[in-house]
Amino acid sequence: MSQINMMAKISIIGCGNSGGLIAVSFANIGYQIDIIDINYKKFKTLPENLISEGYLNPIVADATKIENLKKVMDPESNICIILSGNDSNNALISQIVKNELNIPKVICELNEEITSELYLSLGFIVINKNDLFKKNILDLFERD
């Protein structure tokens, strides 16, 4: 895996199980993370100390609205990870982040095979949970 520059500014959209977990893991090793969710209650799971020390910056906003996202998203972000938990919202947010905010690296969760294939071909970095799960299970079988 290639090294990520420690100066990289990472924005994460969606503070569900995956988004929260990734935000906390990066913040724990010293990254400054903006995490955006429409529902402030989702931020309750984030460790208080990481927020008060400035490693985690929770922002309440509806990321599917272009104007909202433009207001809250740091234009200096190098990487945006999109994990809203819904393929069509993730697709829309990816397009906004790429075309309207010009963030260089967009990583997006898409769990439908055809949608992930399309977005890969459009130049996005795609995470497909179903695919990862399938690969892990197959690996387990091959190991036996």
């Binding site: 599917t64 069509s88 919202n89 697709a91 829309l92 075309n99 055809i114």
Partner: protein, 142 residues
């Protein structure tokens, strides 16, 4: 022509009805079983039950032989993704979508959806035109 419409709401149903009267072959996709039944009762068996988050519903509707794809849902994320799948993955020649904001319309233009209709803007303009007809002096550029 074979035309696929996403959304069996008021707009989707009216367009389907007009297109069928004009001898076009039409399929309407909706995730709501009741709405599918309603449109089938009204216009014949044209509905395909399915969610756009599952592109398989596009396949079930026969997207690969469609000439035109029209997205009419209330959700702009679904409108965008379905048009993009239709256009870039299934190579449908023409895609048209409704949207609910000028920003999303602009985004759909950048991904080359043929036509986008911002229904909120449309309704606002219509209302202003009618109010003007009542004799009110309204300057829209203000």
């Amino acid at each position: 022509m074979y035309i696929i419409i996403l959304g069996a709401g008021t707009i989707g149903t009216s367009i389907a009805e007009i297109l069928i009267k004009n001898q076009h072959e039409v399929a309407v996709i909706d995730s709501n079983e009741e709405k599918c039944k309603l449109i089938d009762n009204k216009l014949g068996s044209i509905s395909v039950l399915g969610n756009i988050s599952l592109p398989n519903s596009l396949l079930n509707a026969g997207i690969s032989r469609a000439d035109l794809f029209i997205s009419t849902t209330k959700n702009d994320a679904k409108n965008m993704l379905s048009c993009q799948l239709a256009k870039d993955y299934f190579k449908v020649q023409y895609t048209v979508s409704i949207t609910h904001s000028k920003e999303i319309s602009r985004l759909l233009d950048t991904i080359n959806v043929n036509y986008t209709i911002n229904i909120n803007e449309h309704i606002t303009n219509e209302l202003i035109a009618k109010i003007k007809m009542l004799g009110f002096n309204i300057n829209v550029s203000n």
